[in-house]
C-alpha cells in the first residue's frame, strides 16, 4: 500500500466538501444549524444552569440520567455542547460518509481510479478524508463554543481550551466507526440514499432482532458491539469512563474497514 496515494485520495476528498459548490452549501447548512443550537440551546440554557434557584432542580434532573458530572462543570457551555454533539455528530457522520465510493462506482469514476491505485488505497483514502472532514467540523464547533463561553466568563478560557481539545478528540473517536460502517454499506448498496436507509434499518430493525434473540441466547448480546455508538451511553456522563470505552470505537472502525476492504476487493467495478 502506498501512503502517498492514500494521502492524495484523502486530500481530494477534502476538496469535495471545502471546494465544491455542493460541499460549500452543505457547510453553510451545517453552520446555520449550529448557529441555531448555539443561539437557542446553549446560550439560553447556560443562565438557567447557573441560576441558584434552578441549580438544585437541574442537579436532581441530571443526576437521575447520570449527568451530574456535567452539571458540575464550570464550563457550562461545553456541558450542553457535549450532550448535543454526542448524538449529532454520529448522525451527521452517517450522512457525510454516505457517498464515499458508491456514487463514483455507479458513475464509473472508480474505474479510472482503480487503474492508478489499489482498491484498498481508494477505500482507506476516502475513509480518512471523511474522518478529517468530521474532525475539522468538530474542532470548528468546539472553537465556537469556546468563544461563546469566553465571552461570558473569560477566566474559563484556558480550562475551556483543554476541555475543548479533550471533547474534540472524544467526539472524533466516537464518530470513527460510523464513517467506517458507511464505507461498508457503500460497497453493498447501489446509492448513497440506500446506504443511509440500510444504516437506519441496521440501527433499528437490526438491534431489535439481536435483542429478541439475545432474550433466548444471552451470548448473542456480543453482537451489539458491532454497532457503532454502542458505548455512547457509558461515556455520556463523563464519569467513570474506562480506556475500553475509547478503544471500542477504534476496534469497531478497524473491524468495519477490514470487512469493507474484503468486500471491495471482491466486488466488480
Amino acid at each position: 500500500m502506498s501512503l502517498f496515494r492514500v494521502w492524495q485520495i484523502t486530500q481530494f476528498e477534502l476538496t469535495r466538501i471545502f471546494a465544491t459548490k455542493r460541499g460549500l452549501l452543505a457547510l453553510t447548512a451545517f453552520a446555520m444549524v449550529w448557529f441555531m443550537i448555539f443561539k437557542y440551546l446553549i446560550a439560553e440554557a447556560v443562565p438557567f444552569l447557573s441560576d441558584p434557584i434552578f441549580q438544585d432542580i437541574a442537579r436532581q434532573l441530571a443526576g437521575s440520567i447520570g449527568f451530574q458530572e456535567l452539571i458540575s462543570w464550570p464550563e457550562a457551555e461545553f456541558a450542553i455542547y457535549w450532550v448535543i454533539s454526542l448524538y449529532c455528530f454520529p448522525i451527521f457522520s452517517l450522512f457525510v460518509g454516505s457517498d464515499q465510493t458508491v456514487g463514483d462506482r455507479q458513475r464509473g469514476t472508480l474505474r479510472f481510479l482503480s487503474l492508478r491505485s489499489t482498491r484498498d488505497e481508494i477505500l482507506l483514502g476516502r475513509y480518512l478524508g471523511q474522518l478529517l472532514i468530521i474532525a475539522t467540523l468538530i474542532t470548528a464547533t468546539v472553537l465556537a463554543t469556546l468563544i461563546i463561553m469566553s465571552y461570558r466568563d473569560s477566566s474559563l478560557f484556558s480550562s475551556g481550551l483543554l476541555l475543548g481539545l479533550k471533547l474534540s478528540l472524544q467526539l472524533t473517536l466516537i464518530s470513527m466507526p460510523f464513517i467506517a460502517l458507511m464505507s461498508f454499506l457503500n460497497i453493498v448498496t447501489s446509492s448513497s440514499r440506500l446506504s443511509i436507509v440500510m444504516a437506519i434499518l441496521l440501527f433499528t430493525l437490526g438491534s431489535a432482532v439481536i435483542a429478541y434473540f439475545a432474550h433466548y441466547t444471552p451470548f448473542i448480546d456480543v453482537l451489539f458491539y458491532a454497532f457503532p455508538g454502542e458505548q455512547i451511553t457509558d461515556v455520556a456522563g463523563q464519569k467513570n469512563t474506562s480506556i475500553i470505552d475509547w478503544l471500542i470505537p477504534v476496534v469497531q472502525s478497524v473491524g468495519w474497514l477490514l470487512i469493507s476492504i474484503v468486500a471491495l476487493r471482491k466486488r466488480a467495478l
Partner: protein, 300 residues
C-alpha cells in the same frame, strides 16, 4: 516481438450465462489490436477483466509480465472504460492533475501532462471547465485524455469514437494512429472501417468464444481485390470470372464484388481497371484486399 498481454484459458460466467469460454490469446508489443463482436459477445467483459474491474472464474491474465491489479502496472496500462464518467463537479484540470499525481508525477509534471493530453484531444481551452459543463462528445474526449496521461505502454479503448461527430471521431483516430508507435492500443468498436484502418490484429468474439485472425491475410497463393461499382451491369459475375487468373468471385453487396485471383499476377489491378474501362463500367472504389466486414461476415 514480445507479447505485452497474455491471456490463457480465460472463462467468466454471469449466473448460467457464459460470457467468456476458455479464451486464450497473446498481443504483441506495438500491434494495434481490434476486439470485435456482436452485442453481448463478451467484449466488455474481456476489457473489464484486462483492466481488473472484474475477476475471471478461471484462467490467467498477464500484462507486461504482471498479474492484473499489480501496482507496477499503474502507469503502464490505461483504459477508456465504456460508459465511465469523470466526476461532473470537478474541473478537468483538477481531476487530470489528481490522476497524474496518483501515477506518481510531481505537481508541475502532472500539470504539464494535463495540458498535453487535453491539447491532444482538442480541449486545451477547457482546462478549468467542470465536466458537467461539457457536451457528450467533449466528455468522451476527456475520458480519452485521461488514458494518455504519462504515456502508458498499453491503452485499452472501449468504443472510443461512439457518440462522437465525424470530425471528432477522425481526430481520435488520428491520435491513435499517431501514438501507435509509442503504445500498444486495443480497441473495441462497431465501426469496422475504423478498425480496419487502425488495426493489424483482430480478435473476434462471438458468444464468448474467441477467434483470432489477421487482417490482409491474403498473402498466400491467392490475393483479393474488392471492387465497388456505381451501377450493376448485366451478368457482371460472369464477366469478372472470365478475367485472367481469377479463381473466385463473390458478390458481397448489390454492387460490391470480392475477386480472388492468383497472387503471382502482379498486374491484376491494372488489368481489372482496363477491363472495367473496356466494358464501360464505372467504379466507385477499388480496395486492395478484402474488407474486414467481408472477411468476418461474408465467409464462403
Amino acid at each position: 516481438m514480445s507479447s505485452v498481454i497474455k491471456v490463457t484459458n480465460l472463462s467468466k460466467s454471469f449466473g448460467s450465462k457464459a460470457a467468456l469460454k476458455d479464451v486464450s490469446f497473446e498481443i504483441e508489443q506495438g500491434k494495434t489490436t481490434a476486439l470485435i463482436g456482436p452485442n453481448g459477445a463478451g467484449k466488455t467483459t474481456l476489457f473489464s477483466i484486462l483492466c481488473g474491474y472484474l475477476k475471471p472464474d478461471s484462467g490467467q491474465v498477464e500484462v507486461l509480465g504482471y498479474n492484473i491489479g499489480d501496482p507496477k502496472l499503474f502507469s503502464k496500462l490505461s483504459a477508456l472504460p465504456q460508459d465511465a464518467q469523470l466526476d461532473p463537479r470537478f474541473s478537468l484540470e483538477k481531476q487530470l492533475n489528481f490522476f497524474g499525481r496518483l501515477q506518481g508525477l510531481s505537481k508541475p509534471n502532472a500539470m504539464n501532462e494535463t495540458q498535453r493530453v487535453l491539447e491532444l484531444v482538442g480541449l486545451k481551452d477547457n482546462l478549468t471547465a467542470r465536466v458537467a459543463e461539457l457536451s457528450h462528445g467533449m466528455r468522451k474526449r476527456v475520458c480519452i485524455a485521461q488514458a494518455l496521461i504519462n504515456k502508458p505502454e498499453i491503452i485499452l479503448l472501449d468504443e472510443a469514437t461512439a457518440g462522437l461527430d465525424p470530425a471528432n471521431a477522425r481526430e481520435i483516430r488520428n491520435i491513435i494512429s499517431d501514438l501507435s508507435d509509442q503504445a500498444t492500443f486495443i480497441l473495441s468498436s462497431h465501426d469496422l472501417n475504423e478498425l480496419e484502418r487502425l488495426c493489424s490484429n483482430i480478435l473476434y468474439l462471438e458468444q464468448g468464444v474467441l477467434s483470432e485472425h489477421k487482417t490482409h491475410s491474403y498473402q498466400g497463393e491467392h490475393s483479393y481485390i474488392t471492387l465497388q461499382l456505381i451501377t450493376k451491369p448485366h451478368q457482371v459475375l460472369d464477366y469478372l470470372k472470365q478475367l485472367q487468373d481469377v479463381t473466385h468471385v463473390q458478390q458481397t453487396q448489390s454492387k460490391e464484388f470480392v475477386i480472388e485471383y492468383k497472387a503471382e499476377n502482379k498486374q491484376f489491378d491494372i488489368q481489372l481497371l482496363k477491363y472495367c474501362h473496356k466494358l464501360n463500367w464505372q467504379y466507385r472504389q477499388l480496395i486492395n484486399g478484402n474488407t474486414l466486414e467481408n472477411e468476418l461476415f461474408n465467409k464462403e
